[in-house]
Amino acid sequence: MYTYNDFDEAFVRSRVAQFRGQVERRIDGSLTEDEFKPLRLMNGLYLQLHAYMLRVAVPYGTLNPSQMRQLAFIADKWDKGYGHFTTRQNIQYNWPKLPDVPDMLDALADVGMHAIQTSGNTIRNVTADHFAGAAADEIEDPRPVAELLRQWSTDHPEFQFLPRKFKIAVTGAAHDRAVTKAHDIGLRMVRNDAGEPGFEVIVGGGLGRTPMVGKVLRAFLPKADLLPYCEAIVSVYNLLGRRDNKYKARIKITVHENGLEKIQELVEERFAAVRAGFSGVDQELLAEIEAAFAPPAFAVKPTAGYEAARLANPAFRSWTDTNLAQHKADGYAIVSISIKKHGATPGDATSDQMRVMADLAEQYCHGELRISHEQNVILPHVHKADLAKVYAALREADLATANIGLASDIIACPGMDYCALATARSIPIAQEIATRFDELKIEHEIGALKIKISGCINACGHHHVGHIGILGLDRAGVENYQITLGGDGTETTTIGERAGPGFSAEEIVPAIERLVTGYLDLRSDPQETFLQTYRRLGMEPFKAILYPAEDKANAA
């Protein structure tokens, strides 16, 4: 894993010291809120409904055990003993007090972490496939490239005041687990005809009020050209992007309004100019970073005990059926720890749970942890011989829910329980849906299903790309929930279609239940997933289930 060098360390410390001074000046009255707000946002500090919120970056979702323990320590010392993992591989603290924030940032710096560029119109935390470095279907570990992008984008003088926020995601695998097509820039590692690794560069994807699927700007970019090419894209956007209207300021609109060809032309032109300035230092740096991400020394040992434990313990078997993914090394598995216990808040982990996960990573996972955009925690490299022990420890910590990829593995944004921009709550809806499916005991029968919930049109909960998306709105002073169907956030990214009129807070959970049990009758066979059935049959049969004729009059 990458560890900070002296430059990183000095930079982060000096930012904390600056911010400490800014907080002092805000508290003693020399700075107004209007003056302070951009300064605090640059350091990840928001003001929400009930308190401040500190958003801490987990670059490309990777953490080591001491970082996870420090996150737990911070949660205990300055928050309420828990943290919220988000869809952008960040962790949010919901209850910091303003005077404490500089100390929190110092504590983060102690373990090589920070909150810089987790807000504001800058290049945000670069996200990556949460199975990076472990996935069986991977060309290369994308994290060295993500780290290179992080170093390049952090405090980049040209890109501190972009027209709007700018999000980059990168994956090294064929199966897209990083939602690259819903990012400002999505990078998918591919090979050219000569078999060399490079990138398919996708641009102009995004969710929010105008959801758009990213478009391929360059089908193959050699790896060595990555930084100059990205610099060219951001630089073209910086000049061309609209600053007159916040809702039209993202690069997706720039691409849409100017056309892909025009953007391509401008980017290639700018690329030709910028590239000359890259003397190859970036490639030397990349080589160093790649060395830091060398794969761990995988152990070779028998896995017979694992098969026996599976046979002996049905609960363990069920967990291995849902929560494991295929690892590239023989005898290993990727473990997804569900932070979605039925009825709990999606993505919230207590400090005790964080410490348990840190211990497990240290003991059984070569010291690595990942945060997924699906708000779960990943142990990327666990030998099958150790799985039963890992499972037992997770069970003790109430972390052994066997529901990865199922109906209750719901993404939910903070919504109106925390977020000042929200138009409705999302957490309680997620809690109720998960509880209901647990009562019905049918989620294993339902199979793969992604439900995603946002508390407003900003779509932080990715509802547009949920197989079932739920968007909370304020309709004449009452919470109302709109359903979209058929969304998909993988390599076949699709924006979901609106099913019809929204549902009240009381009606939404029964509506989802109706929809899902109705699907069980519609599917051609138990192997056909919800999304496949929807693609085969289209909206109509689902609409008929959601809005039975006799209810039509009330549903509006």
Partner: protein, 100 residues
């Protein structure tokens, strides 16, 4: 006839803690909306908001929120403002436990 003015309260987030506070008639900030000053006159409400905004060292983001008179003082009318008087619904955190 002039359009009717929906009564308001001045509300903001406390500077240090960040939680919701309301302006009282005595020019203090309260964490209990029922102790807030209910503003029934538009011109007076605008003035009180200006006065509140000037107190930058105590609060951030002051605004006028709709409210109605209740048995024990002002009450919120919109669910968002209602949540601000209590705290989140997923944990017993915030005012719902701190005030009782």
């Amino acid at each position: 006839m002039a359009r009717t003015f929906t009564p308001k309260v001045v509300t903001a987030n406390a500077l240090l803690e960040g939680d919701a506070v309301w302006l009282t008639e005595a020019n203090t900030w309260t964490r209990d909306i029922r102790k807030a000053e209910l503003l029934t006159d538009e011109a007076h409400a605008d003035l009180r908001l200006l006065e509140a905004q000037a107190r930058a060292g105590e609060i951030a983001g002051a605004y006028l929120a709709d409210a109605k008179p209740g048995d024990n003082g002002p009450e919120p009318t919109h669910f968002r403002e209602d949540f601000r008087t209590r705290g989140p619904s997923n944990y017993a955190h915030g005012k719902q436990v701190e005030l009782s």
